[in-house]
């Protein structure tokens, strides 16, 4: 390719096109205007989604990245534009989501002078970015963008921020693009050590009660087939973290359910009975382990993980297999003997029967008049043939949705797992829809989180994104209220909400919707939402003071999981 003279802004757009970017989420402003001016000429090549707030842009980019596996791209201006991205960047960092964030910056002679809309976004975002870099000359742009894409989506993915000063956007350069394929100081993944694989295989073959825990690493590493092959050959029960949900179909006979604070009874209780834990692409979050000093004490631990810093961080491992899960699982499967663990699997089924009687039946087939979150979510799952993409916010509805929505296809569960960002769902759902235009997107949100980013209804309407939004309304910040009830003597300190008429708000944005208050209207209501051509808002009024169970109280051991208060 011969070099041609372009401006820094044009070079940025050309670089993004070289990286295959088809969608950008963003919000213009003073310090990024040259970029937006350049973008004006490329509207045939790339779609720009104008959100209503920069937080909407970054969560949109996250939703897009999570369903496609490609880096999400977002633009924001300097100062407040950039700082408004911060929550989403932190969210992407902790959930290993590849993002390339481009922020405008004041012209380089003004750096450090407290110029209008100047903020030190590179300094501020250090702890929440995988890498960040400030570009002050146009010549640096192609290489910086190439490195940004390489870093964001290799190894353990994460967010990258490139800060472009206004003079770098205006200046000219000879444009030539070369993709980045290596960086001396960065090793995205370690080759899998066959000796460690052998050591792991020996433990697996000898184990009587092995339990496999899988996380986001399976989805990121596209290792779903390898996971399935491993569990089927070994007969080992497999439990998931919420970030790993959908990597193995819900109805797979060895899928024993969800780990952690509001996970299933069996996986929590039996973690402390297992004699071997095989953790793949997960990082032993405190919501998964409960009290670490009492976690899986009877078990040896094998950890398959791409990020060496995660190994031994929380739980001491006996065998570490560092590397990409797709490769390590394949090698492991080749090294283990065929096996069955029917009796051990039977213990999970027994636990499930207990949980069904104590919790699940009450959630899915309630006899009391008030609607439950569980019945709404299961119905939405059934009516989409368990093949929709589920996007959730944070709180009670999130936990219930993870428990009762069913999945056939991987990469179909988009939630804010590590950071727990309220307001994530609505903008992430539009990103998910843009990334997966042929899939049905079900966005499940609580009445609290809905009001944090409710303005993105405008973006959804403007771009005619057919997202199906279910607002589960209990007029409470439900999860906080649940904790207040259980651990703070029912002192409901600032958790009750006076909500607006959500349906009228939706209509104001041009989005159809209706409200369901009675069980007999639920089925038709959900059906109407799914059948509707275009975005739809279904508000379901649910029982005010329902709780999510099972529950591992904070600081308790996983085997102290409660089925009722």
């Amino acid at each position: 390719m011969t070099a041609k003279k372009v401006t820094g802004s044009q070079a940025l757009i050309l670089s993004l096109l070289e990286e295959g970017v088809d969608t950008i989420f963003g919000y213009p402003g003073g310090a990024i205007m040259p970029v937006y001016d350049a973008l004006y000429d490329f509207d045939q090549n790339v779609k720009h989604i104008l959100t209503r707030h920069e937080q909407g842009a970054i969560h949109g980019a996250q939703g897009y990245a999570r369903v496609t596996g490609k880096p999400g791209v977002c633009f924001a201006t300097s100062g407040p534009g950039a700082t408004n991205l911060m929550t989403g960047i932190a969210d992407a960092m902790i959930d290993s989501t590849p993002l390339v964030c481009i922020t405008g910056q004041v012209a380089s002679p003004l750096l450090g002078t407290d110029a209008f809309q100047e903020s030190d976004i590179v300094g501020m975002s250090i702890t929440v970015t995988k890498w960040n870099y400030q570009v002050t000359t146009p010549e640096e742009i192609p290489e910086a963008i190439a490195q940004a894409f390489y870093i964001a989506n290799s190894g353990r993915p994460g967010p990258v921020l490139i800060d472009l000063t206004k003079d770098a956007q205006f200046g000219e350069l000879d444009f030539e693009y070369k993709k980045c394929t290596k960086i001396r100081s960065y090793l995205p993944e370690t080759p899998v050590d066959p000796h460690q694989v052998k050591a792991a295989a020996e433990l697996i073959d000898a184990a009587k009660k092995p339990l496999l825990l899988f996380g986001h690493g399976i989805i990121i590493g596209r290792a779903e087939e390898e996971l399935k092959a491993f569990v089927e050959k070994t007969g080992i029960p497999a439990a998931w973290t919420i970030m790993g949900l959908s990597a193995l179909p819900t109805d797979h006979p060895q899928n024993v359910g969800m780990l952690g604070m509001h996970g299933n009874y069996g996986p929590n209780l039996l973690t402390n009975e297992a004699d071997l834990i095989i953790a793949v692409g997960m990082r032993f979050d405190d919501r998964v382990t409960g009290k670490v000093s009492e976690y899986a004490k009877k078990a040896k631990i094998i950890h398959l993980e791409i990020d060496p810093a995660e190994v031994d961080k929380i739980v001491k491992t006996d065998v570490r297999v560092v590397g990409d899960a797709k490769k390590s699982l394949k090698m492991l499967t080749a090294n283990v003997k065929e096996n069955q663990h029917s009796e051990w699997l039977g213990e999970f089924n027994k636990c499930m029967a207990i949980e069904k009687e104590k919790v699940i039946d009450k959630d899915l087939h309630p006899t009391k008049p008030g609607l439950t979150m569980g019945e709404v979510i299961r119905l939405a799952s059934e009516k989409t043939n368990h093949d929709a993409i589920l996007v959730t916010d944070v709180g009670q509805h999130q936990m219930v949705a993870q428990r009762y929505f069913k999945f056939k296809t991987s990469r179909s569960n988009v939630t804010s797992g590590g950071l727990g960002t309220m307001g994530f769902c609505l903008p992430a759902s539009m990103g998910a829809q843009l990334g997966a235009p042929d899939r049905t997107i079900i966005a499940v949100i609580g009445d609290g989180g809905f009001q944090m980013t409710i303005q993105e209804l405008g973006t959804i309407a403007q771009n005619k994104l057919p997202v199906k939004i279910i607002v589960l309304n209990n007029n409470f910040l439900g999860m906080v209220r649940q904790w207040q009830q259980l651990f703070f003597d029912k002192r409901y300190s600032f958790t009750e909400l006076q909500n607006p008429d959500f349906i009228m708000i939706g209509k104001g944005f041009g989005i159809e919707g209706h409200k369901v208050e009675k069980r007999e209207d639920l089925d038709a209501g959900v059906q109407k939402m799914i059948d509707h051509d275009g975005p739809y808002l279904l508000e379901v009024v649910i029982e005010k003071e329902d709780n999510v169970f099972p529950m591992v109280p904070t600081g308790a051991s996983v085997s102290d999981v409660l089925l009722e208060p």
Partner: protein, 180 residues
């Protein structure tokens, strides 16, 4: 149990990396007791020498998280007895009381210190050594009322016979080539 560790970090020479490194300590509320940065024997690669008080388990985790930073090539941690290390101290002492005392020669000689500058108002003395040694000289000189005292961060070299960084760079290059 907390004890003194020397963390050495080898990195590319990029702006902002110092903040990225120190923040890895501060987020775990670890105080950095001493920090020196300079170009290493290998051109373009910078070496950070950081002294902290911590438990080994914590240090290990911090070092793991440091290595994960894109612009960092490698990080190591060592106990004091695994390294040869020095700090440099400068003392500015008023000239009058020194004239009137017979001790200065012995002090400088015994401490292996040296005099860098003499003016009609003060003397500047330099000493290298471990913190206890530079501190001891400070206590002695302070009978003349030291006007200014400064001690540098630590510089350190491993006792290990293998040059770990050059070995590491060779391995890394081979690994990166094998990825193509």
């Amino acid at each position: 149990m907390k004890k003194e560790f020397i963390v050495t970090v080898y990195s590319e020479n990029h702006i902002g990396l110092l903040a990225r490194i120190t923040i890895m300590f501060t987020r775990r509320k670890i105080n950095i007791e001493s920090l020196t940065v300079s170009e290493s024997a290998i051109k373009g690669i910078f070496k950070f020498t950081i002294v902290i008080q911590e438990t080994e388990a914590q240090v290990k985790k911090v070092v793991g998280q440091l290595e994960k930073q894109i612009d960092i090539l490698k990080a190591f941690y060592h106990t004091n007895d695994e390294m040869v290390y020095q700090e440099i101290a400068l003392y500015k002492v008023p000239i009058e009381p020194i004239y009137e005392s017979d001790d200065i020669e012995n002090m400088v000689r015994n401490a292996g210190a040296r005099i860098l500058e003499i003016t009609k108002n003060y003397v500047v003395i330099e000493k290298t050594g471990h913190k206890e040694e530079t501190q001891a000289l400070f206590e002695e000189l302070n009978k003349f009322k030291v006007m200014q005292f400064i001690r540098s961060g630590r510089v350190a070299i491993t006792r290990d016979p293998i040059e770990r960084l050059s070995e590491f760079l060779k391995e890394r290059d081979a690994l990166l080539d094998s990825m193509d």
